[in-house]
Amino acid sequence: MITAASDAVIGLAVAVPVVVVAGGVTWGVRLRRRGRHPEPGTGAPEETKAPPVARPAPTAEVAEVAEAPVEVAEAAEPATYRSRMGKARGLLSGYLGSVRSRTKIDASTWDDLEEALIRADVGVRATDALVDDLRTRVKAGEISGADALIDALKADLVTTLSATSGGLAVPGSDAASSGSDGSVNDADDGSTVDVWLFVGVNGVGKTTTVGKVASRLAAGGNRVLLAAADTFRAAAAEQLETWATRSDADIVRGSEGGDPSAVVFDAVQRAASKGHAVVLADTAGRLHNKVNLVEELKKIRRVADRPPGRVVEVLLVLDATTGQNGLAQAKVFTEAVDVTGVVLTKLDGTAKGGIVVAIQRELGLPVKLVGLGEGVGDLVDFDASAFVDALF
């Protein structure tokens, strides 16, 4: 109550000057607007009443086509990766093809290179850094010829993207033997439950990713429990339940609008008593600039990390169509819940997902998984050179 009241006062202390400012400008704008026709019905005070059921679901998750034949991801990977990424290649290889066809490096070579990177959503800053570095090396005589230039760029990109390793903490693997805080797991005897959290903004494909990861882990012989901690979006739990059935995993659900932390807590308890190796927790999509929702996510993580639970992966699910905002998302989520890796979804479209270069450069956050299609087997391990190769 105390804080509530003083917060209110703070707000009001702000409000009154604001109103006065507004009034001050009113006069000017009246002048400005003279002769302009008014906008129809803008900002009209609407009779607004929040719907009784929490917040309405902001967006849809990735669609899933009917059961695709479950391929063994590893075996099919190289072909899948190339062929699927191939669809998206046209544009970029166009620019770089023209670069390669020239032997000399001139101004338009640099322009083309820059354009290719920017169009792939790598971002201005990362592009400038990459290109400037190449320029220096060309000047120093380390690189000569357009072909060598492109190869050098690719090598740089692969180096950037491999800067931090991207191994998943699959139960029984090396990565799983240490917690997200780096603590060594001294008891892999079933007394702890590994928890993977899936986080991200609305509509990136978290629920679908959880479903696909569940299938993958289950196929590897792990007992998987899904936690439907997206208690906000309408029918999110139903969607996850479909996935649970498909991947032969168990699921813990809460009530719609309920406390997501409670769902995760229940899931960890259930997993501990029933002997599940890993809990995959789906969370509600949330924009990273919504302070309250980010706080909610922090709480989910804290609860999940309470013994016997142990958070071993916090995967940021990122839509490949996302532009420069992806970096802001990665920053905020990493600060809030210590993200361990990125899952780049929807890479089978025309979008390139180049923002992961900026994310790796600035945050050292590795891409761990890549979504190349709607089938269960289309979520594959990230391969930096394949990614870069397919990009160009």
């Binding site: 009154v16 849809a60 719609e256 929702l293």
Partner: protein, 536 residues
């Protein structure tokens, strides 16, 4: 606190965070530097254009669109005859503003209804762009326009998509039609159902699809063929990067779009996709979705968006709102009290009523340029209930106490707390904050509005309030963008403004901080150059 609790009054379109925030910041940074120069050389133009290019690219505006934009600005800027009344910076701002508005595209879309109902609206888009939610929001919007819509769930691919639509439809009070057949059949049956029920608007939600997935693109075209929509909208995520154009073009080729619906504008994405799509497809952004609540949805207003990009915030919206709801008498009295440095709790209470009428505090702040994020965040914690609590506390005071809070001693505090159903610490907090606020308001008299806002920043101990310069810039921009003269150059100067404008006390001093500084608070409106609302 539930997010829904914040800003649930009129101001639902721009909750918590403003649109295009970062792009606004960028332009502010670039252009304020420009404004400080006396002359514009070709090098200046190049530098500004480079900065604008970077800003637009970082805002995810498509590269080709950025090029076209910067070239258009360059063509109009280089060799431009410098105007007598505008600074070079103002001239560039004006050009940039005009070009931005030109791209974002004239008027807001006006929906006309089919002469033979129902008016059919088809929604298409990539996966995760927010079609299902948008369908429900759009239906609610139509309902608010006095229509009687029916929702059709033709997304039979994503597990539980129809279920989601049903839940949302339930929240919006709109019935949902679907059947587990195939999407084209569902759409057709939905149309018949709408006719049978006499619904005048039909909204068809389709499955998300990749533009390169030919099979699904054919399917959505078949749906369109079956229901012959009056409006086909592409739903696109404001966070989309360079790919937005490829997507929009592909959908446009398949469906002949009528417009675009921009979603997730409540994020901090700069939303350059809006510019790109509009420019490349040539169809208007019809609606914008700005929050998770069903009501966070409205027609898209391009001119406001470009003002916002230019660092004007959505000042226009705020001002219109202020004009509509603010009681001139109360405002005059309040402004006078502030200027005279005798702002009492009674005045505060009156202003409070006005502010409440205008909507949420955070909403108002978010519309103003140059207000720091921290400040906005602090204010987003305020909701109407808390305002009510403050009101209760003040109402529990005697008139004497309201006029001079310094008389409130310990026992009076206890009485006030009991009377208002709060704790003594709440009363203390209020009194303390009020004291701070009064101190700050004295700043209006001393450093002009700018100084006061600076003090505001200090009050919160983090971030920066609006600098005096930013305020002055804001004021000069208001005139610079459209009129030949700045405020200060109007015949009669700011004093003339003061005569007609109840707010001119603060506003006028912001424009002329140097002069008002000399007037030492302008007590009782007698300071030299001080602008005081004249008695009416």
């Amino acid at each position: 606190m539930q997010p829904g609790a914040v800003g649930n009054s009129w101001f639902v379109r721009y909750p918590e965070e403003p649109m295009f925030d970062s792009l606004t910041d960028r332009f502010e940074g670039i252009l304020s530097r420009l404004r400080s120069r006396g002359r514009l050389s070709p090098d200046d133009v190049d530098e500004v254009l480079r900065e604008i290019r970077t800003a637009l690219l970082e805002a995810d505006v498509e590269l080709g669109v950025v090029r076209g934009f910067t070239e258009a600005v360059r063509a109009r800027t280089v060799g431009l005859e410098l105007s007598q009344s505008l600074s070079p910076g103002q001239q560039v701002i004006k050009i940039v503003n005009e070009e931005l508005t030109a791209i974002l595209g004239g008027e807001a879309l006006k929906i006309s209804y089919a002469s033979k109902p129902p008016t059919v609206v088809l929604l298409a888009g990539l996966q995760g762009s927010g079609k299902t939610t948008t369908a429900a929001k759009l239906a609610r919007w139509f309902k608010q326009q006095g229509r009687n819509p029916l929702l059709v769930g033709a997304d039979l691919q994503r597990p539980a998509a129809v279920e989601q639509l049903r839940v949302l439809g339930g929240q919006a009070g709109i019935s949902v039609f679907s059947q587990p057949t195939d999407p084209v059949a569902v759409a057709t049956a939905g149309l018949e159902e709408a006719r049978r029920l006499g619904r005048d608007v039909l909204i068809v939600d389709t499955a998300g699809r990749l533009s390169i997935d030919e099979e699904l693109m054919v399917e959505v075209r078949d749906i369109a063929g079956a229901v012959s929509p009056d409006y086909t909208f592409l739903v696109i995520d404001a966070m989309t990067g360079q790919d937005a154009v490829a997507t929009a073009v592909a959908f446009h080729q398949t469906l002949d779009l009528d417009g675009v619906i921009l979603t997730k504008l409540d994020g901090d994405a700069r939303g350059g996709a809006a510019l790109s799509v509009k420019e490349v497809v040539g169809r208007p952004i019809a609606f914008a979705s700005t929050g998770e609540k069903l009501d966070d949805f409205d027609l898209f207003h391009p001119d406001r968006m470009s003002d916002r990009i230019l660092g004007m915030g959505d000042v226009l919206s705020l001002i219109e709102q202020a004009e509509r709801t603010f009681d001139d008498g109360v405002a005059t009295k309040g402004a006078a009290a502030i200027m005279a440095g005798r702002f009492s709790l009674e005045d505060f209470l009156e202003q409070l009523q006005q502010v409440k009428k205008m909507g949420s505090v955070s909403g108002m702040l978010s519309m103003l340029p140059g207000v720091s994020k921290d400040l906005k965040q602090a204010s987003s914690m305020v909701d109407d209930r808390q305002i009510g609590q403050v009101e209760a506390i003040i109402r529990s005071m005697t008139p004497a106490e309201r006029n001079d809070p310094s008389v409130i001693d310990g026992s009076r505090r206890v009485r006030i707390a009991n009377g208002s159903g709060t704790a003594t610490s709440d009363v203390n907090a209020l009194l303390k904050q009020f004291k701070e606020m009064r101190k700050m308001m004295k700043g209006f008299g001393k450093g002009g509005m700018g100084g006061a806002m600076g003090g505001l920043g200090g009050l919160f101990g983090r971030g920066q309030g609006m600098s005096p310069k930013a305020m002055a810039d804001l004021a000069s921009m208001g005139a610079g963008a459209d009129g030949p003269a700045g405020f200060g150059e109007l015949p009669g100067g700011p004093d003339a403004l003061g005569a007609g404008n109840p707010f001119a006390g603060a506003g006028g001093s912001a424009r002329r901080p140097a002069k008002s500084k000399g007037s030492k608070g302008g007590k009782k409106g007698k300071g030299g150059g001080r602008v005081t609302p004249k008695a009416r």
